[in-house]
């Protein structure tokens, strides 16, 4: 029963990882920007939700506010940081360092405003009920799984069925040709950043509602997103989501054999092994660097 319990909590964590990682993979796939400040969007969305709830806003309004903050942040970073850099030098490391600088700034600002410790919103969603003897499931499990599945399906449909989605996929394949067809790569990259950043919101809010969110959470989110994208195959949305789910499950199941302190390290061992032995990931194309 412990196994099923751990599997359940693994799926709950993994579903949220999957969405966050899919957002990262969406941005990377379309724009080829290694957006490590994705973790900062997560923290900002989480804190926006906490602050809005503290002000007594209705939860739906708080969710909207959090989404607005994440989307605006993602698009602003693209507009104010990545675009000027790409204008004069496209070295990926320059972009990476700039993005990392933003993560540090955001963490410092959030710390300054809300303190170092973690903050949480209390809801009735986290109250567990005994589903089977020895198996406790809180409603938040169904929320996490349902929201992730619904959003992921929606994004996949959007990418496959709409013109803008087609444009995003075209942007990742051949930006020059896209421009030749008269589509604006700028507008599409703004769309990728907006959409990708919006995908952190469920994870941020549910983290704030369950374990609580802290300023340093951005590092963890960034690491998980990178790990899931690499394991899933960089650029593949489906791969990132699946790998995110897998990482969440592995992280929880590892407790069966090792102490809990090692659970985070386990995901990084998975990441490391994948990079060394199968850098193209689960669904990626072969790496041509």
């Amino acid at each position: 029963m412990l196994f099923i319990q751990l599997l359940a909590s693994g799926i709950q964590t993994g579903a949220l990882y999957a969405l966050t990682a899919a957002g990262f993979a969406l941005i990377f796939g379309a724009t080829r920007i290694f957006h490590v400040a994705h973790g900062a969007s997560f923290v900002l969305a989480g804190y926006a939700f906490v602050a809005a709830s503290a002000l007594g806003l209705h939860w739906a309004a708080a969710v909207l506010l959090a989404t607005a903050v994440a989307v605006a942040f993602g698009m602003l970073v693209d507009l104010l940081v990545y675009r000027p850099i790409q204008r004069h030098e496209a070295s990926f490391f320059t972009v990476f360092v700039a993005s990392f600088g933003i993560v540090i700034c955001v963490q410092a600002l959030v710390q300054f405003q809300f303190g170092r410790g973690s903050v949480a919103v209390s809801t009735s969603l986290t109250r567990s009920a005994e589903l089977l003897p020895g198996l406790y499931i809180a409603p938040v499990f169904w929320v996490a799984a349902g929201v992730s599945l619904a959003l992921f399906t929606a994004v996949s449909l959007f990418l496959e069925r709409t013109n803008a989605g087609l444009g995003l996929r075209a942007l990742s394949e051949n930006p020059e040709l896209l421009r030749a067809y008269g589509l604006s790569s700028r507008r599409l990259s703004a769309l990728a950043f907006g959409l990708g950043s919006a995908l952190v919101v469920p994870g941020a809010i549910l983290t704030a509602a369950t374990t609580g969110i802290e300023p340093a959470a951005s590092h963890r989110v960034m690491l998980i997103s990178i790990a899931a994208s690499v394991v899933g195959g960089i650029g593949s949305l489906r791969g990132a989501a699946l790998a995110g789910l897998m990482l969440g499950v592995v992280e929880n199941l590892v407790v069966l054999v090792l102490d809990t302190q090692w659970s985070e390290a386990a995901s990084f061992v998975v990441l490391f092994v994948f990079i060394v032995f199968r850098p193209s990931g689960l669904f990626g194309k072969a790496v041509t660097s």
Binding site: F268, V269, F272, I275, V276, P279
Partner: protein
């Protein structure tokens, strides 16, 4: 006040060595490791264990720290040979996170969450060098020697081959350069040198704990190199001075409450990294990029 300045100067020398070794990887070899903090820690723990169990001799500690770091640097060389760019950053990130877990959860090696305390004062060839002034001298001499070594290496054929590899790997390969060997050697040299810096750090602080060698430390070392100017000799030193003196200078600013200094410092160096990348990607000591 004097003691404070001597302490600060010693830290500048130690981190100067660490930043110079980071520069060897980032600036000359084009290997963007995020695991440098971990190797700094490996050197520190090696020196600490040696000093606690056998002898506080500095040269032996350097030897132990450097050899352990070099041996473990193979873990970093492996992904460096296989992948590049984002993939390598991700791999080094994984290594860094795993190392921190080991630092915390292997008490017999690293003292676990309590760290290793009470490291005796260093001796050099039988002479006590643990007093602040003497240790500063030792650290400064080590810094000068490391910079000299890097300068000589980078002027020679090894350095030119490394830079060729950084700028155009396939071209360097076409000229008959052994790329896997070059990368392995570069990683070993960078990690060995930061191991030595770690050994100095262990003796200087006389207390090592896993918390000092986290991802933040790696990023800090990267920031020193990048803010100063990657691929230049003076760059890492300029960056080290700026980053270490900034919190000291902030202490004297009256309007900042002392508890918030860490946060303000963090914000400033994050902002410096981002703004420099936008306006001057070569760093302070680097060449400014011309407009195309």
């Amino acid at each position: 006040m004097i003691a404070y300045i001597v302490n600060l100067a010693t830290l500048v020398a130690i981190f100067g060595i660490a930043a110079a070794s980071m520069n060897l990887l980032i600036g000359y070899a084009g290997i963007f490791s995020l695991a440098h903090g971990a190797f700094f820690g490996i050197g520190a723990f090696a020196a600490a264990q040696l000093a606690l169990n056998l002898t506080p001799d500095l040269l032996l500690a350097f030897l132990a720290a450097a050899s352990l770091s070099i041996a473990l640097s193979l873990c970093l060389a492996l992904p460096a040979l296989r992948v590049r760019g984002e993939y390598f950053i991700a791999a080094s990130l994984g290594l860094q996170m795993f190392a921190v877990t080991v630092f915390h959860e292997a008490p017999s090696l690293t003292g676990g969450h309590g760290g290793l305390a009470g490291i005796p004062q260093a001796t050099l060839l039988g002479i006590e060098v643990g007093t602040p002034w003497r240790f500063l001298a030792v650290a400064a001499v080590t810094l000068v020697l490391s910079l000299l070594l890097i300068q000589i290496l980078m002027r020679g054929s090894f350095g030119r081959a490394l830079m060729a590899m950084r700028d155009a790997e396939s071209a360097a390969m076409a000229f008959g350069k052994n790329i896997p060997l070059l990368k392995t050697l570069a990683v070993a040299a960078g990690c060995g040198l930061v191991g030595i810096a770690g050994a100095l750090y262990a003796f200087h602080i006389s207390f090592v704990i896993g918390d000092s060698f986290t991802l933040e430390q790696s990023v800090l070392l990267q920031a020193m190199v990048i803010i100063g100017g990657a691929g230049t000799l003076a760059g890492p030193l300029v960056g080290t001075l700026l980053i270490l003196l900034l919190p000291a200078a902030l202490t004297f600013m009256p309007m900042i409450p002392p508890t918030e200094i860490g946060t303000v410092q963090q914000f400033l160096y994050g902002a410096a990294m981002t703004l420099l990348m936008i306006f001057r990607p070569g760093g302070i000591a680097g060449q400014s990029v011309g407009r195309r």
